[in-house]
Symmetry: C2
Subunit: 557 residues, 2 copies
């Protein structure tokens, strides 16, 4: 159908697949539409889908298409999946400014700086003070989540009010920041909400997530019971949790030390920006060894099993300052992100092999999610009573389940996966068009498209290995020397005989017996050599490697 809408919404990341959140809201007739972006996140490459890739970002072709009709970027909070792409993608984004609350704004500035981008475009916004951006008026309201200063956005347009929750839970007594003002939300609902875009992460979980405070007695019991050093790991940005852990440890008479630069930086930034008030004293690194193990409590990065993080290095004995030994305890005050299980369990085992005890949230209540469960989501619907619901931040089945819940609250709900442009002002929500979506990979220092073939070729080599062949021939295809073959990632002698020698012999034979006509074209020679090389490998190894053939044509004397 034609796009006759005046208010539209489209996700470029975050709806239908988890990670790299990026949402756009548009106002005005299609030709002249003004836009704002909400969030600009990354996800991370893994061996299955993107080996060697540092960051995965949304394809921003559509953002480049709207050019300077994009008024501004609003960031809900500073988690990497909401802000991680801002520095790298800024050259492709023509917005006038980036707006976020104090802690988030500071993190954005740092990211812009690291990417060599201007920091003066970053505006620090105050809670509950509207920011104008073209036809939009955006108000940041505090919610609770597992990072300082998470925000819900109230987006007013001349045609109606939209609410974008960001990641949230309803912790009635948060360790840092303020609880969500439900009365305020109810008033917003009273004034009328056209559409709600709400976090779907825990839609399948009944009840409520539970606040930070209830963790304290459990942590206290565990730390009190420990005989040796105690360490706890969680996300570096979960500053509220770090505070909880540090306070409980201090109450238990332990000194708190940090391992992992990301953690110290997060705490510093939270203190500097006022998002965090007070933190127990931290033992300077060079004083750690003066304190007996039984009086120490470490906060350590690396809860997801990341190989270069402090905890992995401690487990391998390669950390410069922190050593753990038999009888010590590590608390994983975190949830393992799907896909990281093997790495995390491997870490558990390396610790266990050294006699270090591991406690995680399957064993003891040492973690609560930063995302609201079903009942918290229902509370948002009860307060805001939106006409339309387009669930965000979830895999496809989460969006479907969430849309069902929203319908129960009287909202016209729509499942709009990444790329679906939804009209919000045409009686009921409709998908009016589709925009390009996809992924960009940060590979080394270069952004490559997911469909460029670079990653596909690497995955092929990972499975099938590589054979490089060089042949030097004259005009008639006579070989000047034995074909040279280099095999990488295949057995050296699959059946006793060297694979490279076998392939070289076979190519020699094939070229010597081919017709002159066939050998006159370099392309034909290449094809022939490739075919022979792959067939030889298949015969003795059972696999056809990726093959690079180089033909050098010289004149015969």
């Amino acid at each position: 159908m034609a796009d006759t809408a005046n208010i539209v919404y489209v996700a470029l990341g975050g709806a239908g697949e988890i990670g790299m959140n990026m949402y756009l809201y548009g106002y005005g007739p299609v030709k002249d539409r003004r836009w704002i972006m909400v969030d600009c996140g990354v996800s991370f490459g893994d061996m299955d889908s993107a080996p060697g890739v540092d960051l995965v970002m949304p394809d921003v072709s559509f953002v480049q298409e709207i050019g300077d009709r994009l008024e501004a970027v609003f960031i809900t909070h500073a988690h990497e999946d909401h802000v991680g792409a801002i520095g790298r993608l800024w050259p492709r984004i023509k917005a006038k400014f980036i707006a976020a609350p104090r802690f988030t704004a500071e993190i954005i500035r740092r990211k812009m700086q690291e990417a060599g981008q201007p920091t003066q475009v970053v505006k620090t916004v105050k809670w509950d003070s509207p920011v104008e951006a073209g036809p939009f008026r955006v108000t940041f309201l505090p919610v609770t989540h597992s990072i300082p200063d998470p925000a819900m956005l109230v987006i007013d347009t001349p045609g109606g009010r939209l609410v974008h929750t960001g990641d949230f839970k309803l912790d009635p007594d948060p360790v840092i920041g303020e609880p969500t003002d439900m009365e305020r939300l109810k008033r917003i609902g009273d004034e009328g909400v056209l559409a709600l875009m709400c976090d779907s992460t825990n839609i399948f979980e009944e009840g409520e997530s539970g606040g930070e405070q209830p963790l304290r007695p459990h942590l206290k019991r565990i730390i009190t019971g420990a005989k040796g050093a105690v360490a706890a790991t969680t996300f570096a940005s979960n500053v509220g949790r770090l505070k909880t852990l540090a306070e409980v440890a201090t109450e238990c008479g332990r000194s708190v030390a940090l391992a992992g630069r990301a953690m110290s930086r997060m705490i510093e930034t939270a203190l500097e920006t006022g998002a965090l008030k007070g933190f127990p004293p931290i033992v300077p690194e060079d004083r750690i060894r003066d304190i007996p193990a039984e009086n120490l409590f470490y906060l350590i990065t690396g809860s997801q099993g990341e190989g270069r993080a402090a905890l992995a290095r401690i487990a391998d004995g390669s950390h410069p300052t922190v050593k753990l030994k038999a009888g010590d305890l590590v608390i994983f005050s975190s949830k393992t992100i799907p896909g990281n299980e093997k790495g995390v369990y491997g870490l558990y085992n390396r610790l266990s092999e050294q006699g270090i005890e591991v406690i995680d949230d399957d064993m003891e209540p040492v973690h609560v999610s930063g995302h609201g469960r079903r009942e918290e989501i229902e509370k948002i619907y009860r307060a805001l009573r939106p006409q339309i619901a387009a669930p965000i931040h979830g895999e496809h089945r989460h969006l479907v389940e969430h849309a069902g819940l929203a319908k129960g609250w009287g909202a016209a709900s729509i499942v709009a996966p990444n790329g679906s442009m939804v009209a919000l002002d045409l009686n009921k929500p409709k998908i009016v068009s589709h925009v390009e979506t996809g992924k960009l990979f940060l590979d080394g220092e270069v952004l490559v498209g997911a469909l460029d073939g670079v990653i596909r070729d690497r995955l092929k080599m990972a499975r099938q290995g590589h054979v490089a062949v060089s042949v030097v021939i004259d005009e008639d295809g006579e070989l000047f020397a034995d074909p040279q073959v280099k095999v990488t990632g295949a057995p050296v002698k699959p059946r006793g005989e060297a694979l490279d020698a076998l392939i070289s012999d076979r190519i020699d034979h094939a070229i010597s017996t081919a017709s002159k006509r066939e050998l006159r074209s370099d392309d034909k020679v290449q094809e022939l050599v490739e075919r022979v090389a792959r067939r030889a490998a298949q015969e003795v190894w059972g696999k056809k490697p990726v093959t690079s053939v180089m033909v050098t044509r010289l004149e015969s004397e």
Copy 2:
């Protein structure tokens, strides 16, 4: 310490890491020791650790070392992680025979046949009838697990009795097979058990796993409530579950159809061997389309998200006979194995995108584990009262937790990870030596060692790509032609300029300006070219690819 033991135990796989179970028991003084093997399993390669590898098996160097002092192989049950390596490794195993109960024996015969190995070495054993193997007398007792004919082994030696549980749970009312005879176990305990090697899988789970029967009412409610076709997926070998699912579906008035060859074969084998008695009628493939969707119930392979299994193909619309559509339902009557989460969730989403509902065991009680939880493990200790416990089948931390539990039951317990040779008859259990352990990869048709470098090179290419270079030079290092460069798995034009051309130019320059002396050795030329190629890539891409350099030296006219 010196190995003065007469009874020893060593795991080559399965203790300290999950997957590929292989255990050895030895009797006699070290020089003259006779051995039996229990289980001979595989695990599967993944992109993180072994891309392109089909099967991962234990390194059997030690088994080859003991040669024909290995009397026999006993297989507890037919799961791949207990039996999958038998065919491929048999040429390296000098045992006289392989013994297993009927269903397991049949699966072993098939594996031997597929690998071109003799099937007459496979002995079908009867329950509770001892099998002699050198100084060992091994008795198979029925337990319950998620496959037909799972066995616990009672291993009598002249020096004492050992019990090896295999994988087990204590289902009081199993769908197939007999419940475990706890009175019998108590009598075995009364006679005295020297050492117990017991499954640790669910040691961290409180209570009991629960039997198959309690699933029925839940499945019935779900299937009755479904409007369209219903499909259920689980492991093909979980024949008891398949029977439960098929029976409930039949009771609900639905016809049962199968998708996935592995499943039909497992059911056939179970029926033929008498391990399974009765199965609801199965609709022949060519009759499926005559039956309305709302009367159909499919049993489908692919619960772990395997790309080539029936369910993935159904989700992609590429399955030849089975189509699912909006309004249909898929029940995952299974647990996702750690590491498979991304694949399984991806499958959920592909189904969800087509309007197909997914129910898994997080949402409804549609699955129970085949491994006993803590209370069931305790029941085994209560019955057998072993002097020694060496926990098996678990990651390291499972073994540690299990050893703690065993101690509580009065056993001298020991954590003996793969390769630790444990003396069982020296007062208390002691590790007396270490044997070689590690992994063998089935790569194509070839067994390669984990440390051979083949996989390491492939992982490198997966992350860093590959550059092949051919240079043709004369005796003095003069180039006959431009260096040829082929780049695979790197951006074609990282900064606008073609990477292959850039590398070629740089090599040309480097060779032209190098000293003649340096160019006289092919190795030196290779080193130079590699260094220049990698540096050029690093400069414009930020990564150093794996490099294959081929130098062809010709005589100048």
